[in-house]
Symmetry: C2
Subunit: 334 residues, 2 copies
C-alpha cells in the first residue's frame, strides 16, 4: 500500500480555532486528521489535541451497546432527538474494530438516523477504521475530545455487544447503557456476562404492542439478575426500564435516570475520580500496546518465536526459559 | 535485604537423578531451588527443569478452588486418600500470592491434612512466595513438572476463590473443580462470575446432616446457572454434584467424573491440544511480564510516570501523547 498525498490541509491553528468556534465542517476535517494513518497527519493531530485539551471534558459521556437487531439506531435517533429538544448538543461516535474489514460500519450508513442527522445540534460520525482495537479506541476517544471542545455536551458512543470493544467504550464513558430485547426465556444468552456487569442501566427496547407483557417480565428478570453483581464503586444501583423507540415511550425516563446518576456521582466525587482514573488507564493501555508493538512488531522476533513454539511443544525447552531467551535477544538488539 | 549464602547445594545432576528416581527428599530440595530468589539458584533451577522436562507431563492436573470456609483442606484430604487407595501418587501444590504477606499460606499448615501427609504416596507442598502472581505461578508450574518427573500422576493445585490466581491455576491444569456451599439464597454471591465459567465441575461440599436438602437445592440451582454459559471447547458439559468430605460421601463420584472427562478429551484430542496451548500461553505470559518488568522496573521511568500522571490529570498532556513520549525515552535509554 502506497502513501497518498493528503488533500489540502489547514494549519494546526486553523483546525484549533475552527473546532473551538464550533464549526461542524472543521470538526469533521479535524477528526479526519485524527483518523489518518499518514505520519504527517499524526504530528498534526497531536498538535491539535494538545491545544484543544483544556477545552474538552465538559460533557456527559454515554456508552450504548446491545446485540445487532436490538434497535440501537432507532433508539439513538429517538434518544438524540429528545436530548436536542432539551437544548443539548449531541455527538454520536462509535467503536467498531470490524468496520475496516466488513466496510459495514455500524454507523457507516447515516441514513439509519435520517431525522437526527438533519438536526443542527446533532453530529454523527461513523467508526474509525484500524488494525487493532486499541488503535480504533484511541481515535474514537480523541474524536470525543474534539467534539467536546466544539461544544457538544452529550456524547453517545455506540458499540456492538458481542466483543471486546465494550470494555474500551466502558473505559472512556461516564455511564454505560445496555439495550436488550424481551426474548423467549434465555434472556442472558446473547450478551456476555462481563458486559452485563458493566451496565449502569438496562433498557428493554421494543416494549410496545404485543411485546409489552413480555418486556415487563424481562425487566423483572434483569432487575433480579443485576442483584447478583457486587455494588459498583459509583454507589449507583443499576436500573432496568422498558422503552419503545418507535413509539417514543420511556425515552425520557432514560435521560432522567442519567441525570440522577450524574447528580449522585458529582456529589460523591466519583465522576471526576473515575475520569482521572480513565485518563491514567488510557495512558497505561497505550504504553502497554506500544511495548508489545516494539517487541512483537519485529520480524526477527516473530521468526524466533515460531522456532521456540515448536521446541516448547516437543519439550525441548521450557516456556519460562524460552521467554527469558527471547527477551535477552530483544535487549541485545537495541 | 542482603543475599545469604545458600545451604550446601547438590550438583544439578544429583537433583535430576534424585527427582527421576522418585526421592521425596530430593524432590523437596529441588523445589526449594525452584522457589529460591538467589541468582545462582535460578541458574541451577533452569538446568534441572531443562533436564527433567521430557519426563514431565504424565499426569492429570486438577485445579481446586472455593472461598475460605468451603472445606477445601478436608475435601482434599478425603479426595487424596481416595486416589491413593486407587493406586495413584498424588502431589498437592497451591498458588497463593498473598502467602508472603500474611505468612498464612493456605497450605502452610500441613497439619490441616494430617492423615494425608503421613501417606507414602502423597506429597504436599505449601505455596511458593513471591512479589507477583506471575512469579508465584511460574514457581508452582515448575514444581508441578518436577512432581510429574518424580512419578506423581495426579496433581492437585489448590487456590482461594477470591482473586486472579484462579485464572493462573486454570491455565496450568486439565480440569477445574469449584467447591461451593449450600447457602441461604444468593448462591452466586461469593464467587466471581468468571471463576464459575471456568469450572468443569462444581461440588456442593458439606452435604450431610441437616444440610442435605439445601445442598440438593443448591445443586439444581448451579446446574441451571451453568446452562447460561457457552459450551466449552473441550466438549464437556460441567457437572454439579454433592459431597460430604467428613463423611466420605460423593468423593468417588468426583473422581469417576474426572476419569470420564479425561477419556472424552483424550478421544477428541482436546487434552493435548489444550496442554500445548497452555505451554505457548505460559511462554507469552512470561514474555509480557518480562517486557513490563523491563519498562516499569526502571526507577527513571517510574519517576517520569509520576510527572506525566499529574500532567494528564491537569489536562497539560493527552494520555496518548504521554505514552508516546515515555516510550521514546525508554527506547533511547538502551
Amino acid at each position: 500500500m502506497k502513501d497518498y498525498k493528503p488533500k489540502s490541509r489547514l494549519t494546526a491553528q486553523a483546525y484549533i480555532d475552527g473546532v473551538l468556534s464550533g464549526s461542524r465542517v472543521i470538526l469533521s476535517r479535524a477528526i479526519t486528521i485524527i483518523e489518518s494513518n499518514l505520519e504527517s497527519d499524526k504530528l498534526l493531530a497531536k498538535d491539535i489535541i494538545q491545544h484543544i485539551l483544556p477545552a474538552s471534558g465538559n460533557s456527559i459521556r454515554i456508552g450504548i451497546t446491545g446485540v445487532p437487531g436490538v434497535g440501537k439506531s432507532t433508539f439513538i435517533e429517538a434518544f438524540g432527538k429528545h436530548l436536542i429538544n432539551q437544548g443539548h448538543k449531541v455527538a454520536i461516535l462509535s467503536i467498531d474494530p470490524s468496520s475496516q474489514r466488513s466496510r459495514g460500519s455500524i454507523l457507516g450508513d447515516k441514513t439509519r438516523m435520517e431525522e437526527l442527522s438533519n438536526l443542527e445540534n446533532a453530529y454523527i460520525r461513523p467508526s474509525a477504521s484500524g488494525e487493532t482495537l486499541g488503535g480504533v479506541a484511541n481515535k474514537t476517544a480523541e474524536s470525543m475530545l474534539l467534539c467536546e471542545a466544539a461544544g457538544y455536551d452529550v456524547i453517545l458512543i455506540e458499540t456492538v455487544g458481542v466483543g471486546q470493544s465494550e470494555t474500551a467504550v466502558h473505559g472512556m464513558t461516564d455511564f454505560f447503557l445496555l439495550l436488550m430485547l424481551a426474548g423467549a426465556g434465555d434472556e442472558l444468552q446473547g450478551i456476555k456476562k462481563g458486559i452485563m456487569e458493566m451496565a449502569d442501566m438496562v433498557v428493554i427496547n421494543k416494549a410496545d404492542g404485543d411485546n409489552i407483557q413480555k418486556s415487563e417480565m424481562a425487566r423483572l428478570q434483569y432487575q433480579n439478575a443485576l442483584h447478583i453483581f457486587p455494588q459498583s464503586d459509583s454507589g449507583w444501583s443499576p436500573v432496568v426500564t422498558k422503552a419503545s423507540s418507535t413509539k417514543n415511550i420511556g425515552i425520557d425516563t432514560v435521560w432522567d435516570e442519567i441525570i440522577k446518576y450524574k447528580q449522585l456521582v458529582t456529589d460523591n466525587g466519583y465522576f471526576y475520580e473515575n475520569r482521572n482514573q480513565q485518563k491514567i488507564r488510557w495512558m497505561y493501555d497505550n504504553i502497554n500496546d506500544e511495548l508489545k508493538q516494539l517487541f512483537y512488531g519485529s520480524k526477527d522476533i516473530a521468526s524466533k518465536l515460531d522456532v521456540l513454539k515448536k521446541d516448547i511443544i516437543s519439550s525441548k525447552i521450557s516456556p519460562v526459559k524460552a521467554a527469558q531467551k527471547i527477551i535477552e535477544e530483544f535487549k541485545e538488539s537495541f
